[in-house]
């Protein structure tokens, strides 16, 4: 009888553990893929939250808002000084004179690294063929910090992020006036 009670208690614990980390299906993703990416996010990020319920809210917020910054990021606008260099991945056909808003202080080795460490979803930038190294030519206000994790629902992958990141804080038309091109190279 005691063994039966212990078995029932263990079963209840297992059920409760599963229920604590629900993984609702998303459009275009099968249940197995949903559980996998959710479990991977959960394994790395759950500790940041006070409870399972709050962690689940954080996961949902990431799916909905797709912030490029981690939830813990505190906006930190600094003025990047003249001479500072950073890199940016470009799409085929994207002129170097029309940079995006985001760059990194890390060296970009290949496209897989862009997806994983800079957590760039395929939907955000379907193709990448070059890396440009820019140098700040005029003081440039930018938010700086660490790349946040993403769930790429299209490729069904958890993108952990963790690279360095800057986001220019000037209107798009002014970005290139603060920059000069040092190098452009192809990546795959």
């Amino acid at each position: 009888m005691t063994i039966l009670k212990r078995g029932a208690a263990l079963l209840l614990l297992l059920v409760a553990a599963c229920a604590a980390a629900p993984a609702a299906p998303r459009p275009g993703m099968g249940p197995a893929a949903v559980e996998d990416v959710h479990a991977r996010w959960w394994a790395e990020q759950r500790w940041r939250y006070a409870s399972d319920a709050v962690a689940e809210e954080g996961y949902r917020a990431l799916l909905d808002r797709q912030s490029a910054w981690p939830e813990w990021h505190q906006k930190d606008i600094v003025t990047l000084p003249v001479g500072l260099r950073f890199q940016m991945a470009l799409s085929p056909g994207q002129p170097v004179e029309r940079p995006g808003a985001f760059g990194t202080f890390d060296r970009i080795p290949n496209v897989a690294w862009v997806r994983r460490v800079l957590a760039v979803k395929v939907a955000w930038k379907p193709a990448i063929d070059r890396v440009v190294t820019y140098e700040v030519a005029a003081p440039l206000p930018a938010d700086v910090g660490t790349v946040g994790p993403q769930i790429d629902e299209g490729s069904r992958e958890y993108l952990p992020g963790g690279g360095s990141q800057l986001e220019m804080q000037v209107p798009a038309a002014e970005r290139f006036t603060h920059l000069k091109v040092v190098e452009v190279r192809e990546i795959r």
Binding site: A68, R98, G100, P126, A172, A173
Partner: protein
């Protein structure tokens, strides 16, 4: 920069940051499409009729967005952030 709209067969020609020209498959002018308010055209996001537009300010946390072109109607629809 040119693309063929896979739905209509119309040709999209991007010139500079302010003009998207729509032409018939035979090259005749159909219409011009202006960028959404607060944005400038940048480049095509992929092989289809999706344009990256760079913005003056943040919308839902993002400055740059991708817009799908409805060449037949002359409309743009914001579909996803652009990194």
């Amino acid at each position: 920069m040119k693309r063929v709209d896979p739905v209509t067969g119309l040709i999209l020609v991007l010139e500079g940051e302010g003009n998207l020209h729509v032409r018939s498959p035979r090259g005749e002018p159909v219409r011009d499409i202006a960028p959404p308010p607060g944005f400038a055209f940048s480049h095509f996001a992929g092989p289809g009729a999706v344009l990256v537009c760079r913005g003056e300010r943040e919308i839902e946390g993002w400055r740059d967005w991708q817009f799908e072109v409805d060449a037949a109607a002359g409309n743009l629809r914001r579909v996803a952030p652009a990194w």
